[in-house]
Every structure is written in C-alpha cells, then in structure tokens.
Symmetry: D2
Subunit: 213 residues, 4 copies
C-alpha cells in the first residue's frame, strides 16, 4: 500500500508549520505501507494542483493531507469538506477568496473516505488526545481536503482521501498565553497512528471482500 | 551547590503525577549543581515533615518543590505561599482541612526566594510555555510551598525555597476534551531550565558579593 | 414577511434549553416581519417532521431554527448542514443514530440561504459576541438544519432556511467552572438582530430585482 | 450598617470598566445596609489614598472594592492580598512598579475579613457563576485590596475589608473571540448578592456575641 501524506508550508506569520514538520518526522514505512511525503504551499489553487499532480504521478492508495488548526487541543481527523472558500487572511500568494466555490462542478460537500473514528481510537491508544472534527474551516485546509475528495471522486474512485488537523506545536505557544499545544514528536506519533488505522481498515476491507479478488 | 527537588505522588484519582514523573526524568547534575530528588506524599502535614527532614539531613542550598496544576497551559513558578489550607477534596490520607492556618506562628504569606522571572525566561528560551503564578492554591501544593519557606525562614536563613506548578502531562488528557497539557519530557526540560536559572542567579549573587567571602 | 423560528426542548440532562427560552422572549413582530414561534422536540426525525409540517401550514418566507451549543462563547449562525447523523448521546426518545445519512436522496451538504455574515455584523452592532460557524455538529441541531434546507430545496424553492447556535444561558453554568455563557435576555436580543439582518437582506434583494417583478 | 463600595475607572485601553459600571447599577440600600459608592483611579498610590480618605470620612462598617479581571468566567471574591506590586502595563498615570512592596511596614499578606464563601453561595443562589479566588494579581487591584486591609488593620480594627473581581461585561468581548463575559446587569446582581451575604454574616456575628454588647 502507498500513502501520500502532504503538509503545508508556514502561513499567517508563523515561522514554522507543525503540519509538514510532523510529516517529516514520520517513518517512511508504517505497518507495511510506503509513505510518500509532499510539502505543499498554503495557496488556494496551487496547493490542490500540487496534490493532484502527485495523485497522478504516484497513484497512491490513500491521500492524507495534514494542516495546522491553532487553538485545538488534540489531533482532529476531519469528517467533511465543503465547496466553499472564505479566507479571513490572504494566503501566501495574496489570494483571499470570499464566499467562493472551490469547483463549480463539485458537490456541496464530500465526506472523507478515511476511517476517522478508528484513527481517533488509535491515537488515543498511544496516550495522545484526539477527536473527530466536523469542520475543516473555509481556508486552504478545507480547500485541499475538498480537492483531494473531488479528484478522488472524479478520477480515482478507489483512492481514499481525507485530512487531519493538528494543534500548534509547543514552541509556537511560548508567547501565546493560554493557547494549547502538543509536542512536535507527539504530533508525528499521532499521524503515524492515523496511518496504522488506515492500513488496518484497508486490510479488514480486503479480508471481508477477499474471496472475490 | 546542592538542590533538593521534591515531587508529589498521584492524587485526586490520577494514576500518575506529572510532578514526580518529571522530576525523575531530570538530570542528576545540572549546570554544576547536584540534584537530590525526593518523592513526597500528597498529604497535609506528612508532606511538609518529609521535606523538612530532608532539609535537615541534606542541608541543600535550594529547595524547589514541584506539583501538578491541572488546567494550566504552561509551567508556572509560584511567587507566594499563604498560611491557609482549604481543601476541595480529601488528601491521600483523608484529611480535608477547611480555612485552617498551616503554622499558627507563621506569617500570613511568604514570598518565594527563588528567581521566578529568570526561571520563566529560561523556560521560554527552551521553546516551552511558562509564566509567573501568584497563587499556589489552598491545597497540599500551597501547604508544602508554605512549609518550605516557613522552615527556611525559621531554621535555614540562607536556604532558598519555592515551588513550581506543572500542567497535566499529555497522557492525562486523552479523555479530557479541551484540557491543555505538555509532554512529560518537555516538563522535565522546563524544570531543568528552572534549575539553570537558579544556579545562574546564585552565581550572580556570589560575584556581586564576592570580595567579602 | 413571515419568519418561522424554532427552538428545541431541553436535552442532555439540562433543565432548560436556552434556545426555546430565548425564542419565547423574542418580539412577535421584528422590523415589520411576523414571527411564528415553534418548540420542537430534541428527537431525530420527529423534529424535522414538526418543522416540515409548519413549513407546509404556515408557508413562511424564512425558517430559522435555533439550538444550544454549550461551550461556545457567542451566538453562531451556521453556514452549512451535512447529510450525517452521529449521536454521542441518545436523543429524548432514545434514538442514537451512528454514521447515518439523514435523507438518502439528499445532497452531502447544503449551504444556508440565510445571510450569516450580515447576521453576525448586526449582532455585534448590539454589543454582543457572534461569529459564523462552519459546523452544526452531527446531532439533532445539524439534523434539523439539514431538514430545513432539504425541504426548502425540494418543496419550497423560494423559502430561505438556516440555523443559529446559542451558548449556554448564564444560569446553566453556575456549577460548571470555566464554561462561557450569555444572559438569556442577550441571547434573545441577538436572535432579534438575526431577524433584522434577514429582513434587510430580503429588502435589498427585492430592490435589486425590483423592475422585473 | 454602612458599606463603602469602590470601583475603578477604565484602564488598559478599555473604554469602560465593568467594575464601576456595575457598582453604579447597585441599589443604594441592600438588606438594610446603606451603600456608599466611590469611583477610584486605576493608579498605584492615588487609588489607596482615595479609599483611605473615604474610610476616614465615612467610617463604614465594611469596605468592598471591585475590579475587572478580564478572562475570568464568573464573579470571584478574593481571599488574600499580598504586599507586592509588579505591573505588566503602566497604570493610568504611567507608574509601573516592579517587584515592589506596597507598604514597607505591612505584612507579607492579609487574608480578607469578608465572608467570601458565603458571598459565593449567595451569588450562585441567584443563578450566576462565582468562585473564591486566591489571587488578586499584582496590579492595582491587589494594591487596593492590600491597602484596604492594611488600613483596616492599622486604624480601623472593627472594619471588614475585601475585594471582588468581576469578568468583562459582554460589550467588551464583541471583538475578542473566545473570551468569557457576563451581562453588566448580572454583575451588578452578583455584587448585590455579595452585600447580602456580608450583612447576614454581620448579623450572625452580632447574635452570637449579643449578650456582651
């Protein structure tokens, strides 16, 4: 199994983005699955295009994008992406779409095809906080999650896709009183736990439908 | 220089106490200072007696006690202890003092003799969140901090004393939604940073007053 | 203009539900619009059916449902409803759907047709906290919002529909340390502000498209 | 019985201070006690002097000062004041004492002589959130509380004194996401509840000690 994992570059004035920093720390093979890591820009449009190009080139079985959600207390796999961009601040190229659809011919929403509840359970088994989230917001994170699911639906019907939000890493909150964080190494462990849950889930599906293959 | 560092055993239904867990992870020598580690019970009276016995036996230059403050976002050196015990829950021996003084002949409050602002700065330099706190509460933590300062004032006038509160460690918040935490290893690093600040401060004092020694 | 406003009965062990309590305090005519108030049960299915019956009977121009979101700090008009019910606790009849669609023939998501940004601005003009929310959760609140938009799309194409979440009222947090709330009277004022924004928005649309009617 | 209640003028860039705004809304007679209201400046030194002048002129039985503690969720009677000023920001006259005692000849701390637990219970009976606080900080609020108790101890041994912190009023958090508040009218009700508890407490003491008077 091949799993494409993407993380964003820094945005919003932050010197680092815990998303790609944590992705870089992940093992290259997890539970037998090959991990392909990709840094993507925090830019509307460009980000999706870069993921799409990797979907075409790598033909992964799964795409899991990772982004920062400052203010959250744990790691939150996302349940749904919506066809809406509404940016509170400009992206890294100065784009700031307001109330705009992402793809004119896309559905209003796509539910993730990743096993988010199993991912949450696996993260908690490692002693780390996690919960399912029902909103990826309306910024570049939701945008990329939507793009993942849109292209999977249109072009790669067997490819699973989804998104995981992570909190600030601890170094980011030194001068932010009363803002939660996680150690970067723990964020990486949580993302590895997500992959383990995904691999187990795929095996369960394969076993359940095994005779027909 | 010899520094006595104490940590509590678990209380309030918690399986672990990040205070002594973190103390155990600390190096045995920090910035040239010898670290003496002591686990103390979360019990009114017994806790202070055990610290006092170690003060007598070890003759440390500094006593720094460490306790858990669940719900705080960072490591918080305490500025003041007050002569009051008022327990929301019983301690580990079932004692639950209400509105009671700790020592009848003690002052209403003692300010710490540790360099709390320098300790906060040193923790932040390590990329970890910290701030000075002005209340150690009215439970066993304040009780021990008060005892440290009371006995230092009465019996060991050159001994510096104080208290540091630490947040939950991450494993404690797995089933506590929206409660902040720090990685245990980061809590230990923060406590080591406290010791570094204390040692530097003592050296500054020694230099400033150097010719007379 | 006629506006149907619904509020839930209490659930989750709460003695009151600030949603319908606040709806009851709203004026019966706001900015020239007639307000029709309806209490609905916190029950999957029954709640939507009761709103649908009122849509048929009352033929309102707008349906705005209101629900409690304990833990939020302000009033939050919702942007999107998703075709998913996933209940953490049973509803008031003991139903607890898990990962279930609401309507098999519905879209994955519906964006509200209420002017949520204008509603937020109008609430803030009254000195009360508000923000647009991008998730109504996966419990009965999202269920009813989805139902409103589903039936509007299928049967009443000119009817505007949406949902507003409100925080706990102050009396609900007396024994909940560190949980935010608003005064019930302020919640009612915020809901009236929502109606004002909706009425103004409808007038703007009418003026803009005036000649062709 | 005569009760002097003080509230601060605005500081820290706020257009209003909920402390004196709420004091102004309080009734002039509560539970038979006469209420004397006094606005004091958010200035080290001047604030205490103004309260002291009123203590001398009015000879109240009780002094209860009120201040804003932005970020708190409920009304918090304070248990202790400490002999330390350490200002994060300058006061309204530009003073910014650091690590400075308030009165050289004062005790390190004074415990309030107000019945803070009864005050909390009375506030909660009104359906409003409250808890005892163990720190009034190190800014002008602690400064005034300390001054009240210092002068009571030195000059008016029968005068009861203390301090109550109140959260932001709702209008102050319109543009502060995720900051708690209370309605100004509810803050005023909570302060009236404090007075009721104080009056009942004084009556209980009078009855208990009745024969000797």
């Amino acid at each position: 199994m091949k799993i494409l994992i993407t993380g964003f570059d820094p945005f919003g004035g932050e010197p680092v983005n815990p998303a790609f920093e944590a992705v870089k720390l992940m093992k290259d093979e997890i539970a037998g699955a090959q991990i392909v890591k990709l840094e993507i820009p925090t830019v509307f449009g460009d980000s999706i295009e870069k993921v799409h190009a990797a979907m075409v080139a790598e033909k992964p079985d799964v795409v899991m994008s990772v982004g920062q959600a400052g203010g959250r207390f744990g790691v939150t796999p996302e349940r749904v992406a919506i066809n809406l961009s509404d940016a509170r601040i400009p992206d890294n190229k100065g784009n700031q779409p307001l109330d705009a659809p992402i793809f004119e011919d896309g559905e209003t929403g796509y539910l993730t095809t990743l096993p988010v509840k199993a991912m949450v359970e696996k993260i908690k088994e490692k002693g780390l906080p996690a919960s399912v989230s029902y909103t990826a917001g309306s910024y570049v994170c939701n945008h990329v999650m939507y793009g993942n699911l849109y292209y999977a639906a249109k072009e790669f019907p067997n490819m699973k896709a989804g998104f995981v939000h992570v909190p600030f890493m601890t170094q980011q909150v030194v001068n932010r009183p009363n803002v939660p964080s996680m150690a970067l190494s723990d964020i990486a462990l949580a993302l590895e736990a997500c992959v383990e849950a995904i691999v187990e889930n795929e095996k369960d599906i394969a076993v359940a439908g095994g005779e027909t293959h």
